[in-house]
């Protein structure tokens, strides 16, 4: 299966700060990919690079087989929904659809009209007067009705209330089922992504910490708890992501493709949220250590 997004050593720097560093990914087609990480981790930067709105400082990125945005043909195959769903405030909803129709050769007018009707959006209403949820739905309609192969969504539900959030995701999944889209959507909350994503990328501190199918990630990460022990004593195949100790007890989150056979450990499954939190704390711990070292 061809990759929808292929990044090699991708990096983006603004003046002195690296917003994204050393990013190497190969995202297969046919998935709903969750890009999760704290604010400022580089999610928006990565998505904007993929959409061709930014140029890389180092490394390469290829989307649907070519560097973005290579040509009108490639632009037509990728849909993008920017953070906060920007729309033309002075233009009514109907004119936004006309915009889509004029600027996209593969525009599906019926699909767009149908969505607007179903969402109960007034075609004559100026887009600036819509609620946040309605704006997000309008922007999603524009992105989906151009019939792309890949949809990139930057924190699409961040500022939506729970009902609007649920409706947005319902609509998005319906579009995925109907059109066979690949989707990459970002969020700083794992809960938003858990239901809909079957592939996960964790981005913390401008770097990719872990990436892979959700099923595989859940199967290869385990929570081990047992008597107090130095994490360095674990076998080589078990990578410790996070560790916490009390006087007598050690709890570790490890990544391993083998079964954990040591009877001293109680092995339990890890939820997606805890998995992501473990990687976030791992990144934070490392940077804290660096900070201390510099201070010496």
């Amino acid at each position: 299966m061809t990759a929808v997004l292929e990044a090699r050593g991708l990096g983006k720097r603004y003046r002195r700060l690296w917003a994204l560093a050393d990013c190497t990914l190969s995202i297969p087609a046919g998935h709903v990919v969750g890009l999760v990480g704290p604010n400022g981790a580089g999610k928006t930067t990565l998505l904007n690079l993929a959409a061709g709105l930014l140029a890389p400082t180092t490394g390469t990125i290829e989307v649907l087989g070519g560097p973005p945005p290579a040509s009108p043909v490639q632009l037509a195959r990728v849909g993008f929904l920017a953070q906060d769903a920007p729309v033309y405030a002075g233009l009514p909803v109907a004119d936004h659809l006309r915009l889509g129709a004029h600027l996209n050769p593969a525009w599906d007018e019926e699909l767009a009209r149908g969505r607007i009707d179903r969402l109960d959006l007034d075609p004559g209403q100026k887009a600036g007067k819509l609620s946040g949820g309605q704006r997000a739905q309008l922007a999603l309609t524009l992105a989906v009705a151009k019939r792309p192969e890949l949809l990139l969504l930057d924190e699409p539900v961040a500022s939506l209330d729970p009902l609007a959030r649920r409706e947005f995701l319902q609509d998005l999944m319906e579009a995925v089922a109907e059109q066979g889209l690949s989707v990459v959507l970002s969020s700083h909350l794992v809960a938003d992504l858990e239901r809909v994503c079957d592939y996960l990328i964790v981005l913390v501190g401008s770097r990719v910490r872990v990436a892979g199918p959700v099923e595989e990630l859940l199967a290869t990460h385990h929570l081990l708890s047992g008597p107090r022990r130095d994490p360095a004593t674990l076998p080589a195949g078990q990578q410790v992501i996070s560790a916490s100790h009390t006087d007598r007890q050690t709890t570790l989150l490890v990544r391993t493709s083998d079964k954990v056979l040591d009877p001293a450990w109680m092995v339990s499954e890890v939820g997606l949220e805890d998995l992501v939190l473990a990687y976030m704390s791992q990144a934070a711990g490392r940077s804290r250590r660096n900070h201390l070292e510099v201070q010496k």
Binding site: N48, L75, Y88
Partner: protein, 350 residues
């Protein structure tokens, strides 16, 4: 993209159309009166000797009416200010607004290239800018035609703003220069918008730079586009000689019109001796007469070989200067447009 550009431009187009209509109505209402005055003045078909006087009379008549000078000034002001207004209100927000509102992320992820997006926006709105400016200029020129005709012939006048077609505001408002200014002001506005990414600061910067250029070019560049002509003439051939007299026989002369070419552009003038050098001190024999600045004093100077030397651009160079200046502005406009294309190709995040 054509539709979208029009749709985003619609409100500004309506405002421009309304302003243009108001302008046209005002001038249409007052035009015929001016034309009939001109017809009655006898300038058409006049003999070369009397033309100057008839023209001056006509212009004084026009100046005496309460409406015509005001409308003339308003018309000229409209044409001269239009490029600035266009640059500020059409040019500066064109791209800056898209950055401010984040809508460039919507526009640049549709199925057209950024180059095409910019080309259509710049091209169509720029054409509208040129059309509006040219329309204003043509309407004003139609209205002021009688005055322009008379100005070419008049030897003196107290009509406001001076009358030579080279006079500052007249040159800026007539011919093809308004097109150059409009093109430059518009692309300057767009460029500041691309550079600053915020509409209000871009508008302010456009105003400052455009005003500076519009002052600098007529002052320092326009007079030197072509090497000027020189001529001398007797003191007596000038009817209006501006004189300044200082202590110890120092003096200076200046003229506003060349009697042989009323419409010429005087760059500098002064008293010169027989050898053509500037004279700033009265010959000893004439000093005592200087205080009165009477005709006897000027006769004394003339008898010592003192004449008026004039450096000027002849009326025949009008179109050459117009064309060259417009070409400069158009070249600037194209350079700025090129910069915009280059800059937007760099794909920055705001």
């Amino acid at each position: 993209m054509t539709w979208l550009t029009w749709r985003q431009f619609r409100a500004q187009a309506v405002a421009a159309a309304a302003a243009l209509a108001a302008f046209a109505v005002l001038l249409a209402v007052t035009g015929p009166h001016l034309a009939s005055l001109y017809a009655a003045s006898g300038i058409t078909g006049c003999h070369s000797g009397s033309c100057g006087q008839l023209a001056s009379t006509f212009l004084s008549q026009v100046a005496a009416t309460s409406i015509d000078p005001a409308v003339y000034l308003l018309g000229i002001a409209g044409v001269v200010l239009a490029p600035a207004v266009i640059g500020i209100f059409w040019g500066a927000p064109l791209i800056a607004r898209e950055f401010e509102a984040g809508t460039f992320r919507l526009a640049w992820t549709q199925s057209i290239t950024r180059a095409r997006w910019l080309a259509v926006k710049l091209g169509l709105t720029g054409l509208a800018a040129l059309a509006v400016t040219e329309a204003l200029s043509l309407i004003q020129a139609w209205w002021a035609a009688p005055i322009g005709q008379a100005a070419r012939l008049a030897t003196d006048s107290n009509f406001p703003l001076g009358m030579s077609p080279f006079s500052l505001l007249a040159f800026d408002a007539h011919g093809i220069t308004p097109l150059g200014y409009a093109a430059f002001a518009f692309t300057l506005g767009v460029t500041t918008g691309v550079f600053l990414r915020r509409a209000i600061p871009a508008m302010a910067l456009t105003l400052v730079i455009f005003a500076a250029v519009q002052v600098a070019i007529p002052l320092w560049i326009r007079p030197h586009l072509f090497p000027p002509d020189h001529t001398t003439a007797t003191l007596s051939s000038f009817t209006a000689l501006q004189t300044r007299i200082g202590p110890n026989g120092a003096f200076a002369f200046a003229v506003q019109f060349l009697p042989t070419q009323p419409g010429a552009w005087i760059l500098s003038s002064g008293a010169v001796n027989a050898a053509g050098q500037l004279v700033s001190t009265s010959p000893a024999a004439c000093k005592s007469l200087a205080l009165s600045s009477s005709p006897t004093w000027t006769q004394c100077l003339a008898s010592h070989g003192i004449r008026i030397g004039v450096t000027y651009q002849p009326t025949s160079r009008y179109w050459a200067i117009q064309g060259t200046e417009t070409a400069i502005y158009v070249a600037l406009a194209l350079a700025l447009a090129g910069y915009c294309f280059w800059r937007l190709g760099l794909r920055r995040l705001s």
